[in-house]
């Protein structure tokens, strides 16, 4: 173990059960990327069924067995299974681990000039808890009756009477929630306690602020879902009736249960988490975009303070808008008025942040490298996502649009070309920090442009389908209904776009692995950036900084008049 004066860790403790935030960050990132890819594959299967309902899946249709796809024809149960797991995996095992676990772990301690997270062992635990959750979710596909199939929202009582995959889903969720809770405590303590000397809160990079607020959302919003999960486990395993009212008749047989429960209780508990969860997905993305834009416009962020106040306000407000997901559950005027008003209020800080990012371009000297392309594309894409939230947040138009493809289009614009583009920007931007090498620009652009086109090819038609009233979660894409007939053919275009999007990821995958060995070697600060992570070596050693950093200025001192360079690092004196 020890060779004299300094301790050398063995392989397992160095790379697998590591307590180093960078290794854990990479573990999170790789896990997140792998699950994003897996969730994407589930979606591509669904897109076959939507484009060519009840036709045998070509080539791979035989792999799924008679219980799921007899003769290669996807059964609706299988479609529902794919749908529920696509949502769950993308949100809880793809985006959150990558955005929060990956980038948060990798970058946050570096950006605040810390040697590590405040609780390194807890950090390791939270990764392995996520890992167990992932294994449980993945394993549930092999259970009798398949994985969960009641939507990622798992509305009771449908989820109460679903096959055993739902139990696995609940157990998996409890692991994931535990992981998030441990992680969020760690992030908050790290941010508050381990900031470098001179790094006051208003000198924190916006990314840190975004992660900080996100951690609070996770900390306070997840426990109610955990409670809901425990209650549903009780319903499923101990025959309680938390979500089951009196007088249920399932398939013609009256249920022998005590009753007295409330199906809407599940929705309240679920959305109390799941609305803040939306901001958990988007805030780190905004943080990444802010970093990349400041760096590549070579000028300070416009309205940094307003952005910080907005993100804090967003965090608070996100706890009191949840029931706008429930307008049509029989809500009275008073409650509907309250929730649509809070929803309109919460749109204002989002508008402020987006406006600030857009105005940050003004007067810049914009470099169009790959991270910047993704960050720039984020702006209009998130713009569409945010704007299409308006008619859904208002109760009256929601009558027509609720649970239609308009909703799917809306939130996918927020998280797919929105958040995921920002995450790609982050991968390209910080890859040199994590590995000491740059990713290829050519392959990066080959990744970006088709991705942008195909993303819109998938999601824009959804808005049109939604306006036509096509419901979501239809296993044949609406082919049963005449009123959906006019927009049915759009499904083919969307599906071809989805498969095109898959092809567009090939350059990324090649780039990601090839650059590990063949990428251009770079120094500590390849992007001429100002924030603290670039003051550490690339890749940073154990303990991160060779000398303890001291901060003298704000995060985005680019193109300071009279300065020698067009960037003035935070550590530069004077």
């Amino acid at each position: 173990m020890s060779d004299g004066h300094h301790e050398e860790l063995g392989f397992w403790r160095k790379y697998v059960f590591s307590t180093d935030h960078k290794v854990i960050g990479i573990q999170y990132s790789v896990t997140g990327l792998a699950f994003l890819f897996f969730g994407f594959c589930l979606m591509m299967l669904m897109r076959w069924q939507l484009a060519y309902p009840n036709q045998p899946i070509p080539l791979i249709g035989g792999l799924f067995g008679d219980a799921r796809a007899p003769g290669g024809i996807m059964l609706p149960d299988f479609y529902n299974e794919l749908g529920a797991m696509h949502g769950t995996i993308m949100v809880f095992l793809g985006v959150v681990p990558l955005a929060v676990g990956g980038f948060g772990n990798l970058i946050l301690p570096l950006q605040i000039g810390a040697a590590d997270m405040a609780f390194p062992k807890l950090n390791m635990l939270s990764y392995w808890s996520l890992f167990l959750g992932g294994v449980t979710m993945f394993g549930s596909f092999f259970l009798e009756g398949g994985a969960a199939q009641s939507g990622w929202t798992s509305y009771a009582p449908l989820s109460n009477i679903a096959p055993s995959g739902q139990t696995a889903w609940l157990i998996g969720m409890i692991f994931l929630i535990t992981s998030s809770l441990l992680g969020s405590v760690n992030f908050i303590v790290t941010t508050i306690q381990l900031r470098a000397q001179g790094l006051s809160f208003f000198r924190l990079p916006f990314f840190c602020w975004a992660q900080f607020v996100t951690a609070f959302l996770l900390l306070l919003a997840f426990p109610p879902l955990e409670a809901a999960g425990v209650l549903q486990l009780m319903d499923r395993l101990a025959d309680t009736s938390f979500f089951m009212p009196d007088g249920l008749v399932i398939s013609g047989e009256a249920l022998d249960i005590s009753g007295g429960g409330s199906p809407l209780l599940w929705q309240h508990l679920f959305w109390f988490l799941a609305h803040p969860e939306v901001y958990v997905l988007i805030l780190p993305a905004m943080g990444i975009v802010a970093e990349v834009i400041a760096n590549n416009t070579r000028k300070p962020l416009w309205g940094y303070r307003a952005m910080v106040y907005s993100v804090i306000f967003l965090g608070f407000m996100s706890f009191i808008v949840w029931a706008h997901h429930m307008f049509i559950t029989g809500m009275g005027t008073a409650m509907a008025t309250f929730f649509q008003t809070t929803t309109m209020i919460i749109s204002i800080p989002s508008v402020i942040i987006l406006t600030a990012l857009l105005l940050s371009l003004w007067g810049g000297s914009i470099r169009f490298n790959t991270p910047m392309l993704f960050a720039l594309a984020f702006l209009p894409m998130f713009g569409i996502g945010g704007l299409t939230g308006l008619p859904l947040g208002l109760a009256a138009p929601d009558i027509a649009l609720h649970d239609t493809y308009y909703v799917i289009g809306h939130f996918h614009y927020v998280v797919a070309p929105g958040t995921i583009f920002a995450l790609f920007a982050g991968v390209y931007y910080w890859y040199p920090k994590a590995t000491g090498r740059k990713m290829s620009e050519t392959l990066g652009k080959l990744h970006f442009w088709p991705s942008l086109i195909f993303m819109n090819g998938i999601f824009f038609p959804m808005l049109i389908q939604g306006l036509n009233g096509v419901s979501r979660r239809l296993a044949d894409g609406g082919a049963t209904y005449d009123f959906a007939g006019a927009v049915g053919p759009l499904n083919r275009m969307q599906s071809w776009s989805a498969w095109g999007l898959a092809l567009a990821q090939i350059p990324f995958i090649i780039n990601f692995f090839m650059s590990l060995r063949a990428g251009e070697k770079v120094g500590d600060n390849p992007w001429d950036a100002t924030t603290l992570e670039w003051a550490a070596p690339s890749p940073p050693p154990h303990g991160n900084f060779t000398t303890e950093p001291v901060v003298y200025r704000g995060p985005y001192e680019y193109s300071v008049p009279g300065a020698e360079n067009d960037f003035t690092p935070q550590t530069q004196e004077g």
Partner: protein, 235 residues
């Protein structure tokens, strides 16, 4: 282990021999309905235009299938308490979904026998079994899925199979350990052959009227007649 398997094989062979040779009889008979034929309300096939299109006349519930002279169909008749091992036939028991009805409405299947569900309608059906003992299944069969196969591994007398898409569609299935059962047609007739000689109770079952039993002594290669009369239970 090995001994047990041999014994099992021996038993199977002897059972086969027993039923193949003449040391067995036949039970036959007719089931009639006592009472006035009620006016039934037609099935609400207009719930699915695809179903309505398959019929030119109103379809009546199959709960009461009467022939001339009030003979009664859809009665499950079987021999009670037959012991011994009877191998399941190799051909499948078939339940078809045709014209948004189950054909047949009442049927028996043996433990281990293949139970095949067909979808001849070219419509979505959802075949959902509601057994208490056996493993239940619940399968949506879109238009293009025409076949599904199951087996039942435990004896279970009469459980329901229903279609969740067309609520009126119901079928009743008995999972038997022996082949001595039959279902009447609208002529009310049933015939159970190959019954090993002995004293038996014969039971007739109807989904709504319950059961009627009768005893019979079956001798070698003879035919016994047992008739049943079913009626609405008095309150």
């Amino acid at each position: 282990m090995r001994f047990g398997r041999n014994l099992f094989a021996l038993a199977t062979v002897s059972a086969l021999l027993l039923s193949a040779t003449a040391v067995a009889g036949t039970v036959t008979g007719t089931v009639k309905f006592e009472g006035n034929a009620p006016k039934l309300r037609p099935l609400k096939m207009d719930a699915d235009p695809g179903c309505a299109k398959k019929h030119s006349t109103p379809q009546m519930p199959e709960v009461l299938a009467l022939g001339d002279g009030n003979t009664m169909g859809n009665i499950f008749v079987y021999v009670k308490g037959v012991s011994g091992n009877f191998p399941a036939p190799s051909e499948a028991a078939v339940l078809d979904q045709k014209g948004c009805k189950y054909v047949p409405h009442v049927m028996g299947v043996m433990v281990g026998q293949t139970f095949k569900v067909l979808n001849s309608d070219g419509l979505l059906h959802n075949v959902h079994s509601l057994p208490k003992v056996n493993q239940s299944f619940n399968r949506a069969m879109p238009a293009t899925v025409t076949e599904a196969e199951y087996t039942f591994d435990k004896e279970e007398f009469m459980f329901k199979i229903k279609c969740d898409v067309h609520p009126w569609m119901g079928a009743y299935v008995g999972v038997m350990t022996h082949p001595f059962f039959d279902v009447t047609g609208t002529d009310g007739k049933f015939e159970i052959s190959g019954v090993p000689a002995g004293n038996y109770e014969i039971e007739a079952w109807h989904e709504k009227l319950g059961t009627k039993t009768s005893t019979v002594t079956v001798g070698d290669s003879d035919t016994q007649t047992v008739d049943f009369a079913m009626s609405v239970p008095k309150k």
